[in-house]
Assembly symmetry: C2
Homo-oligomer: 144 residues x 2
DNA sequence: CGCTTATTGCGACTGAGTCTCGATTGCCCT
DNA sequence: AGGGCAATCGAGACTCAGTCGCAATAAGCG
């Protein structure tokens, strides 16, 4: 869970203006427990009678993704989604049942990427890892 | 590099009909050295005056992706692309300069995924890893 | 050689994401 | 406190990848 203030201040520190729409979106993002799509935010903002347009949602998510405050990911279905995250983690485990997601400390992936670089001759400079499965709660619920 | 015959026979083995369009697409895919988009195939097929429609390209890529003959991937730019691959490898290193890609033998990623499962409590049942960098040739060329 | 049914072409459609441009509004400076 | 400028926003048209439904075609089987 990430709080709205953290998101807003990340924007501030990076030199972006703290506008109404951005604060509102930070709020919406902070209350999401799992991953969410741009449409989700848009729908929720309409529900709350906030006046935020599609373009603004996309533009803001773009900025936040660049800051590393949210991470862009593609679900197995092909749908694009986002998760709020601490800037340190760079990967996530996503629950394919409830959508909740958890940050993953980099347990040796960096090293793995390097060793793959070695064996293929590529100079690997970025990678993307997405894991999908069932979160503990959903496993429990399914047993019942 | 994968040959057209391999692709066609994979279709045959799986019980799909060996139609004209599918053979033609297998050909187009086999001549690609790097990754390619659906539009790439479509454009090339028009260039060669093959009569293949957009829908057919997408439908075929779908089938081939399910068979594991091609892998669907998302480039850092957000563009969807495909690479032909041996059914054994499940990941690729993609050259961000020339687009060529190389299959990666699973060097401990399976184990890594498991250990991440352990530490987060998730039952991880699928994952996706994409690596981006410069291939040996492009590194060479850039030095010059 | 015909039958059956998977597959194709066609063309309309959908929906995510982008773009342009005039109107706002943070924010800095004094 | 208030003025000015650039960043940002809203509105709405637009693009373009990918999908869909249906009638026509053609694999593959007997």
């Amino acid at each position: 869970m990430v709080d709205a203030l953290g998101i807003v201040s990340a924007l501030g520190v990076a030199g972006f203006r703290l506008t109404g729409p951005r604060r509102a979106l930070a709020d919406l993002i902070a209350t999401r427990s799992g991953h969410f799509t741009a449409e989700d935010l848009l729908a929720e903002s309409r529900r709350r009678r906030l006046r935020i347009t599609r373009a603004t949602v996309f533009r803001s998510l773009d900025v936040l993704a660049n800051l590393g405050v949210v991470e862009r990911l593609e679900l197995p279905s092909g749908v694009h989604a986002f998760v709020a995250c601490e800037p340190l983690h760079h990967h996530h485990v996503v629950c394919s049942s409830c959508g909740r997601s958890t940050g993953v400390a980099d347990e040796g992936l960096e090293r793995l990427a390097q060793s793959i670089g070695q064996s293929t001759g590529y100079r690997v400079d970025s990678h993307r890892l997405e894991l999908f499965g069932r979160c503990p709660e959903c496993q429990e619920r399914e047993r019942a």
